[in-house]
């Protein structure tokens, strides 16, 4: 991979100098989800153990998806 391209992979197009834009082939990559630590991890596990109170809303969203989907 071109050195400049590698260097610019994490930058958005707007952040590049005009001459750098020509070597940037891709938009900013999708950011990875962090590995949670400490209290953040504890909060995630707390959420995980909560009961399902949202089934109706998910079903409504699924029906909407089926109505609107083509192809």
């Amino acid at each position: 991979m071109d050195k400049n391209m590698d260097k610019n992979m994490d930058k958005n197009m707007d952040e590049l100098l005009p001459d750098e834009r020509s070597v940037k082939l891709m938009a900013a990559p999708i950011t990875s989800t962090p590995v949670l630590k400490g209290k953040d991890l504890v909060n995630l596990i707390k959420d995980l153990n909560k009961p399902d109170k949202n089934k109706d809303r998910r079903q409504k969203a699924l029906k909407a998806l089926q109505i609107v989907t083509k192809g």
Partner: protein, 184 residues
């Protein structure tokens, strides 16, 4: 509850959701952020071909304009073994499945209605479809990009998302957030 959810039924009548294809008016799409416009033109095809993301386009039925797009991928919260011991977390799970919103953008000409929130609603529908297909998935996750707009996390917050990192904040370019599909 999603933001302006009462408008979603009206929006439903005026739009279709289609898989990414070069046949749509992609070059007319302008969300006001060059990087997201370029993604649609230059990168999206590669992501789809490599099964990195599936990209859906929201198309206006009458004008055929691309109103919005969303890039979705499978993801998971990895539970670090040492961290589990340290926090005294005793569950036999090493990762929690999620559906990742990798990119979401709305055409600037269509800011008059809550199309971004509508796309999140459809993402919830896709997650439910995944579960009904037989693959477990619990959270919607996103890394809200703050490089272009510091208000992006606020958009997700008003749509029911919560911050993943309240204590350990070391990111400067994106804020990781989740939507618990059991809580809404």
């Amino acid at each position: 509850m999603f933001y302006c959810e009462d408008e979603f039924e009206d929006i439903l009548q005026a739009v279709v959701l289609v898989p990414y294809s070069l046949g749509y008016k992609l070059r007319d799409f302008n969300c006001g952020i060059d990087d997201y416009n370029q993604f649609l033109i230059n990168d999206a095809q590669y992501y789809v071909e490599q099964n990195i993301s599936q990209i859906k386009l929201l198309i206006h039925k009458q004008s055929a304009d691309v109103i919005a797009y969303i890039a979705l991928s499978s993801d998971s919260f990895l539970l670090d073994k040492e961290e589990k011991i340290k926090e005294n977390i005793d569950i036999p799970i090493n990762s929690i499945p999620a559906l990742k919103i990798g990119k979401l953008a709305v055409n600037s000409r269509y800011k008059d209605r809550p199309y971004g929130s509508f796309m999140l609603w459809l993402a919830l529908g896709i997650l439910e479809q995944i579960n009904e297909t037989g693959v477990g998935c619990r959270f919607l996750v996103v890394d809200a990009d703050i490089t272009q707009n510091p208000k992006t996390p606020g958009f997700y917050k008003k749509n029911g998302f919560d911050y993943n990192e309240k204590e350990n904040k070391h990111r400067t370019r994106a804020i990781s957030m989740r939507y618990d599909v059991f809580q809404g």
